[in-house]
């Protein structure tokens, strides 16, 4: 009975449920409609989003199920129990690498888009640096507080997105959505790949589920959390196609922001809603980045137990910054994204799946 001490770093199931949409909804929202429009015809991409989302949901559930078997154990501890210590060491390092690349990519992305939509003279290096400083401040705090932060931010993010979607109703043209089902099988497969890739981020469950007060509930709440991005993506995609039509969408670099540009707020209090939309969207990307970065710190901490969290942060931050500043242009940044797309199936599907399979076969369970 110590209810007044919340500092025991435990995460409630609701908070973990909020974390999934927080980590998934990030920069991919801004570009996903374009990539889907390129892969499919008319508005057929919605099938791909839903199908990709279902696969993501399945693996989220699986990842949470795996981690929930080992409550109060770090990832390194339970993976070394399953696949021997050296292999677990390599797997953890690989995940850290993946998470850091992911973090750097998001930071670079926000710096680039900020430069495009908010500033014209400020260099991306400075914008990214300021953002990284805030992220660093967030991860130096308590881990439970980070999850509280997501609970605070997610409703704002979703609300702003829905305001923009509602405001597009006058611009919406049903004719853009039809005819249905004109895409060939190859298009669907490509589209599903795109759709599936925009759900990345659930790998953090490998690390966080063990911190829950009630890990058994993790698979259920995280799967429920995954439904939020599915709904958001589907609505967003349909609206973008409805507003712009498929042809226009596939030629817009950031269709979501462009859509916000078209929106008129009734009463004319603000013009150029896209700036406001993007400003709030920084919060969404911030949530994603902090969770990914914190997960990488946690993974490293599980290997090097004696090293302080602060030390790890101060070693990682410059690395993240340097990696994020590597791409010189948007095209290079897209190539950078391709690297991530290559790592993503290994980190988020293969590793959890194999570990889960081994745990299931060997009937290993945590002692928690």
């Amino acid at each position: 009975m110590k209810p007044f001490d919340y500092s025991d770093e435990k995460i409630s199931q609701r908070e973990l449920g909020f974390a999934i949409p927080s980590v998934v909804i990030g920069v991919s929202v801004l570009t996903a409609p374009r990539l889907l429009a390129q892969a499919t015809k008319f508005a057929d991409g919605w099938l791909c989003i839903l199908f990709g989302g279902l696969i993501a949901l399945l693996f989220t559930w699986l990842t949470a199920k795996l981690a929930a078997r080992f409550p109060n154990q770090s990832f390194f501890e339970y993976s070394s129990m399953l696949v021997s210590k050296p292999v677990a060491f390599l797997v953890t390092l690989f995940l850290v690498f993946y998470l850091i690349i992911f973090t750097s990519y998001e930071i670079r992305y926000i710096a680039t888009i900020s430069k495009q939509y908010l500033f014209d003279r400020t260099p991306a290096e400075v914008i990214g640096f300021a953002f990284l400083l805030v992220v660093t401040y967030a991860v130096t705090g308590s881990r439970a507080a980070l999850f509280r932060l997501n609970v605070l931010f997610l409703p704002i993010i979703i609300a702003v997105l829905f305001v923009v979607l509602l405001a597009t109703i006058p611009l919406f043209d049903w004719k853009h959505l039809f005819p249905l089902f004109k895409t060939d099988l190859k298009g669907y497969i490509n589209g599903t790949k795109v759709g599936f890739f925009s759900y990345s981020g659930w790998v953090i469950l490998l690390f966080y589920t063990g911190l829950m007060t009630n890990p058994d509930k993790a698979p259920k709440v995280t799967a429920a959390g995954m439904i939020v991005p599915m709904v958001v993506y589907t609505l967003l995609y349909m609206t973008t196609i409805g507003v712009f039509s498929n042809i226009v969408t596939r030629n817009l670099v950031f269709p979501t922001i462009e859509m916000a540009k078209e929106v008129k707020i009734p009463g004319g209090i603000f013009e150029r809603v896209e700036t406001l939309f993007f400003t709030v969207w920084i919060m969404a990307i911030f949530s994603t980045v902090t969770l990914l970065f914190d997960a990488s710190i946690m993974a490293l901490n599980s290997i090097f137990k004696k090293v302080k969290k602060q030390t790890i942060i101060f070693i990682l931050v410059p690395i993240v910054y340097l990696i994020s500043m590597l791409p010189k242009s948007l095209i290079q940044l897209v190539k950078f994204g391709d690297v991530l797309d290559f790592l993503y199936p290994i980190a988020e599907i293969l590793i959890p799946f194999i570990l889960f399979f081994i745990a299931y076969l060997r009937r290993k369970k945590g002692h928690g």
Partner: protein
């Protein structure tokens, strides 16, 4: 850890002093005792010592008290007169002096409620200095201490810092007894607890921790007591000393205890499962723990009907937003994103800024600092001149600055709306922290525009989710949220639907009302 060290060392040396201090025992000789008391206090002229005989017996006793601190009528009527007159009847034969005589005084002749015995000179001096009266009898080393506290006192008034339109019109006073009475009069529960402490090495003020046993969580009480026990300072002049000593973190603009002058607010906090701390000599009671949303609530929210209260709360959240963000948004929009402003307004602003020699950021900082100066001057200036400050500030500076072309009229409007918004917040403590944050946001906006504002907003949020007030996260009940918590944050649901005490307090008794009513 480094901060704790000096405090610990001080505590040890204090213990050593204590041992020497409390070893002085009383004498058995009456005159010697009086002499000692006089010597101890250096025979001040407000110390009254009077020796008189007990009734018609041959024995004498003495009273000692400080004039002005005591209720003299009580001493004259109930103590001296009783002892002189009562003892004359023949049945009350007094045969022996010393302790038995003292006992008879104690048991039979003193018609006062608050009476106790004491043995050491230190207790005696503390009693005298607290406004109690000491009765000394020859032949024994015991004395009787009688509760006769009195002295000048401010009348009960309406709380000046927290006025309500609807609600009780009494406020706490500097007298701690009056304050506990106000709480007792509101909560006639046998489980209402008052734990008292003596605070201050020199001042020895009474501090009272009050809560309702059976509602409050025991861990909260032990945490409050643990922190209060570490207090060791000369004098706590105001409850602010206590607040700053026991708060969770001093590296924050946000207050972690709420101060109030309103007994009804304290009573409500107690029934919510919170703890209140009263200190002698100040009308400001402390309430702990508090959360961010608490600070935006007013007791009146519950006195008025729910619809109005809900709308008022919307207004208050809007006011909080304006008080923090408006000047920063002005800077950001004008310097970085003029495209966001509707074009008609943009033309108007551009025209009104024609000839203003400063950038928007400099202009905003200048006017905000002027506003802060005016506000401070308004508080400090003697009451009769207060009006003058308003005229000087509002008309002369505002009008003249615009006419001279130093600032634009739109800036004056922004500053005025910001000031009005920050005055409409119910908690002064939060209004102060918003004033600090406003300048931070303005700085962020001056450097990075909207991007800076959103980053600063994220930083403030990170700070709030990490901050705690007695173990309760400051962001409660937004996050972590509790079942039904939404009913009393931004909206105030109808009273009958608020059947549960706030979940984040983890009250032992969860229900605060029976919705069906007591019909059986």
């Amino acid at each position: 850890m480094a901060f704790n060290k000096p405090r610990k060392r001080r505590k040890n040396s204090q213990k050593a002093e204590d041992k020497e201090d409390f070893s002085i025992k009383l004498n058995t000789n009456l005159d010697d005792n009086i002499e000692n008391i006089k010597k101890l206090l250096d025979d001040p002229n407000d110390l009254v010592t009077r020796t008189f005989s007990i009734g018609h017996t041959k024995y004498t006793c003495a009273v000692a008290y400080i004039d002005g601190l005591t209720n003299t009528t009580l001493i004259n009527q109930m103590i001296i007169r009783n002892v002189q007159a009562e003892v004359e009847s023949p049945e009350t034969k007094v045969s022996e002096a010393g302790a038995p005589l003292l006992d008879r005084l104690y048991n039979e002749w003193l018609s006062v409620g608050g009476v106790k015995k004491a043995y050491s000179l230190d207790d005696v001096s503390l009693a005298i200095l607290s406004g109690n009266t000491v009765i000394l009898v020859g032949g024994t080393d015991q004395v009787i201490i009688i509760d006769t506290q009195g002295g000048p006192e401010r009348a009960v008034e309406e709380p000046t810092t927290e006025r309500l339109i609807r609600g009780p019109k009494v406020g706490f006073t500097e007298n701690i007894r009056t304050n506990t009475v106000f709480i007792r009069k509101r909560i006639r529960d046998a489980n209402l607890r008052f734990q008292s402490y003596k605070i201050g090495r020199r001042s020895k003020k009474t501090l009272i921790v009050t809560y309702i046993d059976g509602i409050v969580h025991p861990n909260l009480i032990s945490e409050v007591n643990k922190r209060l026990k570490t207090i060791d300072l000369d004098d706590a002049a105001e409850s602010g000393f206590i607040e700053q000593w026991i708060e969770d973190s001093f590296l924050t603009p946000f207050p972690q205890l709420e101060h109030t002058e309103r007994p009804d607010k304290v009573a409500q906090a107690l029934t919510d499962g919170k703890v209140a701390i009263l200190l002698e000599g100040t009308p400001f009671a402390l309430i702990a723990p508090i959360t961010f949303s608490n600070m935006l609530h007013s007791p009146e929210d519950y006195y008025e009907r729910w619809l109005f209260s809900t709308l008022i709360r919307f207004l208050r959240y809007l006011a909080a937003f304006i008080a923090v963000f408006l000047p920063a948004l002005y800077i950001a929009l004008l310097s970085y994103h003029p495209g966001l402003i509707p074009y008609k307004l943009a033309f108007f602003i551009a025209a009104s800024r024609e000839g203003v020699p400063f950038t928007a950021a400099v202009e905003a900082f200048m006017m905000e600092i002027t506003m802060e100066l005016l506000r401070e001057a308004g508080f400090r200036v003697p009451q009769p001149i207060g009006q003058t400050i308003g005229i000087v500030g509002g008309i002369v500076i505002g009008q003249a600055a615009v006419a001279a072309g130093i600032v634009s009229p739109i800036m004056v409007i922004i500053v005025a709306i910001t000031a009005i918004s920050s005055f409409s917040l119910p908690a002064y403590g939060l209004a102060i922290s918003f004033r600090i944050l406003r300048f931070g946001f303005m700085l962020a906006a001056a450097i990075f525009g909207l991007y800076g504002i959103i980053l600063a907003y994220i930083v403030v949020n990170i700070h709030i989710v990490n901050l705690k007030s007695f173990g309760v996260p400051y962001s409660t009940p937004f996050a972590p949220s509790f079942k039904g918590g939404w009913k009393d944050i931004v909206i105030r649901a109808p009273l009958t639907t608020l059947g549960k005490r706030p979940g984040y307090m983890k009250p032992k008794d969860k229900k605060r009302m029976n919705k069906g009513g007591n019909t059986s």
